[in-house]
């Protein structure tokens, strides 16, 4: 009798928590493996580790961060795909991984193999040149290129290489597009003079503020916060943009309570600018941007299906 009663109470408890969607009641059945698709020590890696640290403190969950880098996040995605979907394995990558990169690799993965949890921050993607070049606007650079100057355009992913190519095509010039590893490498190349201009996803902020670097254009669909007058991709005649976010994901079919608890907990940490993780997101990426639930699912699947159009356009 006692046992039945206990079971009944437990069942009622479960039902109540499920119907009420009390995400806070969810606790991971074990330590959470956190796969980080970025090199150790960079801004993105630090972000992931700080978020894990904050969640350990706040929620009492236990995280095991590990680096699974390479192939534009696809190595991480591939490893994560086969992990249990009970919330004990999640990963941090960028939306580009599940969009362009996944479509380009054509390796039998699609966003449907994953559960999107939440984005943490967007990129303030600018097209940046050193002020020493003497270009104060995008047209100045195009004029220099048309004057016969070779322009080395630094990018950090194949998608950005396509965008740079389309940008050149729309403006009637040929850039020498150089792909380097990570935004930091673009910035180093630009400051050292190895590159003339490049995509930078937010790290240019300090340099632009001090006047060493110039945001010639916005790589986004929207103007840059820091340089609102710089033209957007659409203004420059390109129908595509580099809008993208850092995104936490889990394997496909993650139960709703786990998904909700994880995404809300992560979003709460990054939105809190007084936390270490939130502070970093504010400092390095201009503040948090948390898209979750169905919005995120939609975003990821749109990115994936639009990637083909971009690739077709770039290979024309």
């Amino acid at each position: 009798m006692k046992r039945t009663l206990k079971a009944a109470i437990a069942a009622i408890g479960l039902a109540v928590s499920a119907t009420a969607g009390m995400a806070a009641d969810w606790t991971p059945p074990g330590p959470i493996k956190l796969m980080i698709a970025f090199r150790a020590g960079g801004g993105a890696d630090t972000q992931a580790r700080l978020i894990a640290e904050a969640l350990e403190e706040k929620m009492g969950w236990k995280f095991i961060p590990e680096q699974v880098t390479g192939k534009g996040g696809l190595n991480m995605a591939n490893t994560l795909k086969g992990q249990p979907n009970d919330g004990t394995a999640i990963g941090l990558a960028v939306t580009e991984t599940f969009g362009y990169n996944m479509a380009a690799a054509n390796a039998g993965m699609s966003p449907e193999d994953f559960t999107g949890l939440t984005t943490t921050a967007g990129f303030q993607m600018g097209i940046v040149a050193p002020s020493g070049k003497g270009w104060s606007s995008f047209e100045d650079m195009i004029a220099a290129a048309k004057g016969g100057q070779d322009i080395r355009f630094g990018v950090m992913s194949p998608k950005l290489a396509d965008l740079a190519y389309l940008l050149g095509k729309a403006q009637g010039v040929d850039f020498n597009i150089v792909q380097v590893k990570g935004g930091k490498a673009v910035m180093n190349g630009v400051t050292a003079g190895d590159l003339d201009v490049g995509f930078m996803a937010g790290i240019q902020a300090k340099g632009v503020a001090s006047g060493d670097l110039v945001n010639l254009a916005s790589g986004l669909s929207q103007p840059l916060v820091q340089t609102p007058d710089a033209p957007t991709m659409a203004d420059l005649g390109v129908d595509f943009d580099s809008d993208g976010y850092f995104v936490f994901v889990g394997p496909a079919g993650m139960p709703d309570d786990a998904r909700k608890a994880l995404s809300e907990a992560i979003a709460a940490v990054v939105s809190d600018e007084s936390s270490k993780a939130g502070g970093l997101v504010k400092k390095a990426f201009g503040g948090s941007a948390t898209i979750m639930g169905n919005d995120l699912t939609q975003l990821m699947s749109d990115d994936y299906s639009n990637a083909g159009t971009l690739m077709d356009a770039a290979s024309e």
Binding site: A40, G42, G70, K71, A105, N176, V178, D194, L195, G207
Partner: protein, 529 residues
């Protein structure tokens, strides 16, 4: 931010880093303690025949990373420890060489030639003092050269070398390393080629993993720790184990000798040693600055030059080299110790490791992140702090702290490690193997890593059987990714010019030199035969 500000920040980074404990209100940073631990470990390891600095560095690295984490704060404590090991091992190697006629590290072989005869004459402690004095002097000299040269060279490279020249420079270093390490250029180049082949599995810019033969395990390529530790450490352990199997262990008791006469070094004696120390330090530093030539050659050269001088200048009745001349120990130890500092010149200014110790420093920097040895480190930015430059000066500070430890407590500790030689190899080797595998698993946390490491261990074993040096393999594995990346970038930056390597006089010179060095060393080898 001037140069002096950066130097000051670097020093502060070491002394004011995360605090471990405080003595009388004076905070002691964790970096300082790690340098001390590393240094003492290094001496002990160097004094143990069968172990060497790189083994200790290899085992310690993953464990340290798991303790300190992946934050930039971890760089100085971890690398400080490794630098301590590197420096300690060089002086430790002299102990068994002098006391028991068994060199603790390969480069201490020449030390046995005069060290052991001195022991037989009852001058063991004096010989140890000579070794310590010469070693510490050579080391300090070489560090000073490093600190002056590395930033300068890096700035030069950054100012004059474009993508194509950087690619050509990497090719030159690889061919140089292949040609000079391991005796035969053909074997060296083979070893380099195998290293490149291994690193290109699964990596690359394409989204589709190359050469993985459809295997999920190979998709991400081989983790750098498995290949480096596998070939260098596990391979060596396998080889030593089979050697042990073949030879019957000598069970004879070691002879002991009574101390005779004054064991101290007088001022006049130091004066007599100085010319030998000075020459050898110069030789060692010059050799150390070239990637790939190890301290063993430096020791041999230093000894040979010292012997020639000694034959001309020695006093009537003083012992010859080989009969227990303190000058012989000084010439050898100053030369092999002065390699270690200079060896970091190519590491810090170009990102090119020259020996096994440097390999582990690069490995540490790559695993922790936030510090990429190479020309970009020495960017003296004015308005914003370049954190990598602060770390670089922090490392220089760490080296000088290690030197200070060397001068003060090094000699004392060194003279007490004679006991290490009694550790039997049949216990030592399995322990090293177990620790190495554990260390790899700690860092990689997947079981494939163990299989990879054992596979690379087997490869390292076979290479040693065939007298192929594994070091070019490891260096090629480390530089392979960089080589591909810079070649792709050079190709793109020149607007798709397939002949980018021949586009400028500098890169043509580098390529010509890479071919010449292999041809030249192959011909010389033939003549020697």
């Amino acid at each position: 931010m001037g140069t002096l500000d950066y130097i000051w920040l670097g020093i502060l980074a070491v002394f004011q880093g995360p605090e471990l404990f405080s003595i009388f209100g004076l905070p002691i940073s964790v970096t300082l303690v790690m340098i001390l631990f590393g240094f003492l470990t290094g001496i002990a390891v160097g004094a143990t025949p069968g172990l060497a600095g790189p083994i200790a560095m290899a085992i310690a690295l993953p464990i340290l990373i798991s303790i300190f984490g992946y934050t930039p704060d971890a760089l100085l404590p971890v690398m400080g420890f490794l630098i301590g090991v590197m420096k300690g091992a060089t002086i430790g190697g002299a102990v068994p060489a002098i006391l028991f006629n068994t060199p603790g590290t390969p480069d201490a072989y020449m030390t046995t030639l005069d060290g052991y005869p001195m022991t037989q004459k009852g001058q063991a402690r004096k010989a140890l003092r000579v070794a310590h004095f010469a070693s510490a002097s050579g080391d300090t000299f070489s560090d000073i050269v490093l600190i002056i040269c590395a930033p300068f060279l890096a700035l030069l490279v950054e100012a004059y070398l474009d993508f194509p020249e950087k690619t050509a420079l990497l090719i030159l270093s690889l061919s140089f390393i292949g040609a000079v390490i391991g005796g035969s250029p053909a074997k060296g180049v083979l070893s380099t080629g195998l290293g490149l082949l291994a690193v290109y599995i699964g990596t690359g810019e394409d989204f589709y993993p190359r050469m993985s033969m459809g295997s999920d395990q190979l998709n991400q390529g081989f983790p750098i720790a498995t290949s480096v530790l596998g070939v260098l450490i596990i391979g060596a352990v396998f080889k030593e184990m089979t050697d042990l199997w073949h030879q019957r262990r000598s069970s004879g008791t070691r002879p002991s000798f009574q101390d005779e006469g004054n064991q101290r070094l007088s001022r006049a004696e130091i004066g007599r040693l100085l010319p030998f120390v000075g020459r050898s330090a110069l030789i060692g530093t010059a050799i150390g600055a070239l990637p790939g030539i190890g301290s063993t050659l430096a020791a041999t050269l230093g000894y040979t030059v010292g012997r020639a001088r000694h034959a001309r200048t020695k006093a009537e009745g003083a012992p010859d080299f080989g009969d227990g001349a303190p000058e012989g120990i000084a010439a050898t130890e100053a030369a092999n110790s002065s390699v270690s500092g200079a060896n970091l010149i190519p590491v810090l200014s170009l990102g090119i490791p020259g020996n096994a110790a440097a390999v582990f420093l690069i490995l540490a920097a790559e695993s922790i992140g936030g510090f990429n040895p190479g020309p970009s480190v020495f960017r003296f930015t004015q308005d914003v702090v370049n954190p990598e430059l602060v770390i670089a000066f922090g490392l220089f500070t760490a080296m000088f702290i290690a030197n200070a430890l060397n001068w003060t407590i090094g000699g004392l500790f060194m003279r007490s490690t004679g006991i290490m030689v009694r550790i039997p190899k049949h216990i030592l080797l399995p322990t090293v193997l177990l620790l190495t595998l554990t260390a790899i698993y700690v860092q990689e946390a997947r079981i494939e890593a163990i299989w990879f490491a054992l596979g690379f261990g087997a490869l390292g074993y076979v290479m040693r059987l065939l007298a192929i040096s594994p070091l070019p393999f490891v260096i090629a594995f480390i530089l392979g990714g960089k080589l591909e990346e810079s070649a792709r970038q050079a190709f793109a930056a020149t607007g798709g010019d397939a002949w980018f390597l021949f586009g400028s006089p500098i890169s043509i010179l580098f390529i010509a030199a890479s071919v010449a060095i292999i041809l030249f060393s192959a011909r010389r080898k033939k003549q020697e035969l």
